[in-house]
């Protein structure tokens, strides 16, 4: 989070030139069993290139503390990137003892990924 108040990000004022995915894209989280699925949707088509370059499968795996088992599908015509993170939800909606077994909140963790611009 880098100590940045969320409200500041929401206003779209990236301080000191450090961009987050949140400044360039939306993320929708979905689940299938124990697998988390994250779709990254650039707010402008021009942002797709930098997101495609930055959000590699390996980088997203690191951001979520995973080994290199994340797969990425590129959909330049939409445009969108889809990430599949297996075995990350701790058992999913019926197995995880915590509150958000679906992992619906985890899309916003990817929004906090720093983008090198």
């Amino acid at each position: 989070m880098g100590g940045l108040p969320m409200g500041e990000r929401a206003m779209g004022q990236p301080p000191m030139g450090r961009l987050l995915v949140d400044d360039l894209a939306d993320v929708r989280a979905g689940d299938k069993g124990d697998t988390l699925i994250l779709a990254v949707l650039p707010r402008e088509a021009a942002h797709y290139v930098v997101l495609e370059r930055t959000l590699t499968a390996q980088a997203v795996a690191r951001h979520f503390g995973r080994p290199d088992d994340v797969t990425r599908t590129v959909l330049p015509h939409l445009p969108a990137l889809v990430f599949r993170l297996p075995a990350i939800l701790g058992g999913g909606v019926t197995g995880y003892p915590g509150l958000d077994g679906h992992g619906k909140t985890l899309g916003y963790h990817l929004l906090m990924f720093p983008v090198e611009s």
Partner: protein
Amino acid sequence: MTAAGSMTGASGTDGGTVRLGAGAGFAGDRIDPAVELARHGELDYLVFECLGERTVAAAQVRRLADPSGGYDSLLAARMRAVLPVLAAGAVAGTRSRTGRHTRIVTNSGAANPLAAGRRTAAVARELGLSARVGVVTGDDVLDVVRRLDPVVWETGEPLSAAPEELVSANAYLGADGVRRALDEDADVVVTGRVADPALYLGPLLHEFGWAQDDWPTLAAGTVVGHLLECAGQLTGGYFADPGTKPVPGLARLGFPFADVGSDGGARLSKLAGSGGLLTTRTCTEQLLYEVDRPDAYLTPDVTADFTAVRLAADGTDAVRVTGGAGGPRPDDLKVTLGFRGGWQGEGQISYAGPRALARARLAGEIVRERLVNVHGLAADAIGVELIGAGAAFRGLAPETDPLEVRLRVSARASGAEQADAVGWEVESLYTNGPAGGGGARKSAQETVLVRSCLVPRDLVASSVTVLEA
């Protein structure tokens, strides 16, 4: 359904399109948006998708306790809300676009479609309406999986190796059962586990007579079903963000409908004046929602390729979707297995102000120690969350020290007594724990565990029973 006799006008299409409306996107969804669509949407079909993996397993447990139960608890409320509106429309002549009254399709049958069908018929009778209720069964494959002993995806082991008690097995049926129920002039179709998009594909098969190996067209219809199946998620729900994606009128969010052509292409829209918005952005998010392989979205009816889909704005709150592509349906059907998951107890309590995080953490350590040492719970069965300090991100982001923190302790337990101990120990922090703990709450419940496997499709057969009301 009508006030007097069954109204079965000629099944044709207006302008070559069929209008499918989304009446619900999950079991607990709002009812008033469906009533608005029933009243003003000129729908051919109103579809209620009310069944998740957990929902079907939980319904199976309810059915074990009560053989006449096990269907969606909001079924009767939904039917009471929309049946009179649809019947009034049919009598008044404000018919749907295809020239007959609006028909309903729902998977609210959950673990007991026949009981749900009987309940639907009873509701119609109470309202003085006549209706043909088509019930689709055949998704219950408990006997099949017991015989086959398939490998369970999550464990990689045969089903028989699972220590938990298996209580249910429901195969994802395709659209064919829904189509056949509509072919038999059902006014309301009630199913159990049917693939969500198939609830929408069924009416399209009935209206357009698509061949069961016309993969591109079946894929196009599946894309439409996939976009509609979560109802309000297409019109700004689960999308809205006041900073980046403002959505007007979420408190009166309008549910979407689609005008689908005979080639499977469609125009998605919502009622004028309803809340929410429907744009290429909302549609793109929903297109990719829960889709782990966009090039091969597996359904019982077709393997759909979402990478070929094109979305284009087509007026205010309207988007045109084209470009369905796909290949043969899989030979196996996915099955949701339900197991008794034992008991779970939880307790919550809040701390605020200076050292809120430290006090909440200390409180969690106290509860954990006592659950193990006093109540005999297994240490690895206990989960501690510090809500407000990053619990949702599961340790992936550094904890912050916020103005307030809510401790939540949850644990799997051997029985009701152990489960109750979890909330009890949190509550007892009031007088035995860190300073300033407030707002304790507790609960305990029996749970279900859900896993998946495959069965060959030729071992699964759907059938249709028509009930008259």
